[in-house]
Symmetry: C2
Subunit: 504 residues, 2 copies
């Protein structure tokens, strides 16, 4: 019997087991929030309705103590989930020690050090439930479309895009790299099975500590024989639409808990704009408006408004700090003002970060050099102008991986496509059509200074029945981060791994 | 349009694309076996029905050449899949170079060196389709039962069962181990989400080259709050029953291609015998019969029969080798005898391997020391007596991991459970109920000489709302190997990694 099923038992007696995620006492009543992994539920222990022993046990429940209870399910619209339980019996498994994560705000380092406990908070619980729905939706989409799940190896003797940023290990006195993409193996598997997808962890030894990077993250990499770049874009669009729609339908409660405004997600049913690299560059540089917006003007306007808001915040903080010095002010009023000050200071910190970021974005947008890859700032600038994922395709071939097909219509470009999530999130998918010509690949491998002998097996795919094919890679955590609108990718995975972060 | 859908298009004109997996010519006809990843289909090009250009193109198709064709779907019960295509048009993508994997028998090292191509053979294709069905069935089972998929980290600062056999990497000047189990993280996640499962790769630097070991393999590790060992065994049984049933229902064609006798798999609906360690030991040592069989007598009888068969094989080989020396014997007859000889020699090699193995099994069964863990030979001995997976539980605590709960009824035992696949396959699942007492765990960690500080976060789970819980780990490749009855685990994964095997 689980909390998620309470609605089926209205008016009936049920048994629940779990942990106390909160408790407050009030005039012969104990209000305990029980969490059991499937949800959260208010349980009321009334001294007039239970034995003194049960009431006493309820009063002992410290945060995260484990217990079971019996009680009657009562509808109450005000509760999360819509039900509460009026307790008749209660048994304790364990009274917890003093729980380190109290209700007050903690720094993110402290919370990450306690990730094994932080996962129990309602917000992290909701994110993990959404992550789970996304994962299963991905499997459902590909399986229902008869793709074959195939696992690419993690240990590789060859490095897909060079050995920079690769972790390595001693593999019985050989050097093995930890895969940063199953791409090349995906191609071999597509030649055997037609349409495949991989779903596994990938590794990058990124020294940068950004809100977008993990050293260990999960990738989904479909690869399809007889697909060109346009078939590929159609598939990406269907795929993302399906996943986001499943989350919207099945995770309403979780999205509400994390406070996600779902209106942008609802746009997923709209066609995804497809921009060539050339168009994307014009938009970033402010040479072309989009959706009635100009990138440079938007940023300038926003910067002005941020700066004004900073002044207002500083002024109000100063005023309130002055105010609470007033002699004889009541404790309650001081507390009220102090909590306002704390909130204002937190907002101020966010605003000041924006005030630092926006000039950088402006600078990188104004000075973007045609021919370069898009950086994180450029992705932020362009995706803030959209309310739906955009696809940027036909990239200058020099900035993309060696295995992308040269555009037959214009030799300067490669048939790659990046999908950028809106609201400033940036790249979630990278993919493209693959080069089918063995000689072209050999030239590219030489040009990228990669060791030819490690790619001989891959080149075999062009010797024995080369066919047009395409595929893409989706970064799971980046998708979760965008769908949940998280400030940092670290909250999108149960146990994040970043530079300097190996525990718990 | 794919081969798997041909039955829906009987009598109609279709377009197919793929590779030539075989071709033979006969009196104005070309018979080409097309494979497209979804299946195999005979396509007939009749010189009287197509243009000379099309017939000429068909004649050029070397093995694994890529092409598309148009043709009419015609029912033919004799064909795999039940349909063939009468070709009207044919276009070549690429004539393949001389394909290295011909129809003749190759050594397994050669095939593994060419794994990227070997995957195209019908047997490997079928195994991969079954593997895919197993993977999705696992997700379906857990998702339908409302488990939350949660990923344990691959990089860990602490080692679950000691650092022997672990791969390590330089992680920004710290040492990170590659996970050999997500177990401990699974427990933390179950305390947050109730019932979870992980599905990811795990790594063991096993120096042994056995038919059961890979260095990189996929594990599924469910963990359930409020489960004891008996709930756990019930779940394992339901779970394996579901997966095998799905394969039997959905992979008939693939099981037929690999020649799997499915009668043993059908037994999956029977209850799984649950033996204590004590009973298992008596059965292995031949002190207790099971299913009317005695382990020692069975092995002795089999050894005698293998030795007799070896003699017969040797005799027949000698006779035939003598025979083909007969002067004037026709080429056809020599060829016929030579292929018989080749086949007999292959069988002889298998028999000789058995003649080497059985005495070892006998020896290890007869001399098994009560209190030891079961070795590979012991698992082989006991599971050859069953036609359904068996569960062995209540193990001597000293041979099992530190985190297993001590049996409250008998302190000598730990509440672990191993599931052994029948037909000699052995362990596919290991699991058990977890110790809930912090002090007991600290003692065990000390006893196992593990670094206590690396486990402090894990011990937190016993401080903050400790509850009864249990879980298990399933080795995906071992399950695939048993279901497909493969001689070696290496065929159960797209790109196997073993000692000395890092490419392709």
């Amino acid at each position: 019997m689980y909390i998620k099923d309470l609605s089926k038992y209205e008016g009936q007696e049920v048994t629940l087991r779990g942990w106390a995620s909160n408790r407050r006492s009030s005039k012969g009543l104990e209000f305990v929030i029980l969490r059991d992994g499937t949800g959260f539920c208010q349980c009321i222990v009334d001294a007039n309705q239970v034995s003194p022993a049960v009431f006493e046990k309820a009063g002992k429940l410290k945060l995260e103590s484990s217990f079971s209870l019996k009680g009657k399910v009562v509808k109450d619209e005000r509760q999360i989930g819509g039900y509460e339980v009026h307790v008749s019996e209660l048994e304790i498994y364990q009274i917890a020690e003093e729980y380190p994560i109290a209700k007050k705000e903690h720094g993110v380092d402290f919370l990450t050090d306690n990730r094994h406990l932080w996962l129990r908070s309602s917000r992290q619980w909701a994110i993990m439930k959404i992550r789970n729905r996304i994962i299963y939706s991905i499997h459902q989409f590909f399986q229902e479309n008869e793709f074959v799940e195939m696992d690419a190896p993690i240990f590789t003797g060859n490095a897909c895009e060079g050995t920079t940023n690769l972790f390595e290990t001693n593999y019985f006195d050989e050097t093995a790299y930890l895969s940063q993409s199953g791409q090349l193996y995906g191609e071999a598997m597509a030649m055997a099975m037609g349409r495949i997808y991989t779903f596994g962890p990938t590794f990058r030894a990124e020294k940068s500590k950004t809100r977008r990077h993990l050293t260990e993250f999960w990738m989904i990499e479909p690869e399809m024989a007889f697909f060109d770049i346009f078939d590929n874009m159609d598939l990406i669009e269907q795929f993302l639409r399906r996943v986001v729609s499943d989350v919207l339908r099945d995770c309403k409660n979780e999205l509400e808990i994390i406070g996600r405004d779902t209106s942008v997600l609802q746009n997923i049913t709209k066609p995804f704009p497809r921009l060539t690299y050339d168009e994307a560059v014009r938009i970033i540089k402010g040479e072309q408006d989009v959706n009635g917006k100009n990138s440079i003007k938007e940023l300038e306007t926003e910067l002005a408004s941020v700066l004004a808001s900073i002044d207002e915040h500083k002024k109000e903080i100063a005023e309130r700090e002055e105010k609470i010095k007033t002699p004889g002010m009541k404790k309650g009023e001081i507390g009220f003002n102090q909590s306002k000050i704390d909130k204002l200071k937190q907002e101020l910190a966010d605003l000041e970060e924006q005030a630092r970021n926006i000039p950088q974005w402006l600078n990188s947008a104004r000075n973007f050099t045609y021919g370069n890859d898009l950086g994180g700032s450029d992705e932020t600038v362009i995706t803030r102008l959209f309310d739906v994922p955009i696809m940027v395709y036909n990239w200058p071939h020099a900035v993309k991986a060696f295995y992308l097909k040269r555009d037959p219509d214009d030799n300067r470009f490669a048939r790659g496509v990046d999908v950028l999530a809106p609201e400033g999130y940036g790249e979630i998918v990278g993919g493209g059509e693959r080069e089918t010509n063995e000689q072209m690949l050999r030239e590219k491998i030489t040009e990228h200074e990669l060791p030819m002998e490690a790619f001989e097996w891959y080149l075999d795919l062009r010797k024995y029945g080369s066919v047009p094919h395409a595929g893409f890679g989706l970064g799971l955590e980046r998708l979760v981060t965008w769908i949940c609108k998280l400030p940092h990718v670290r909250e999108s995975i149960p146990f994040p791994r970043m530079m300097g972060r190996l525990l718990p």
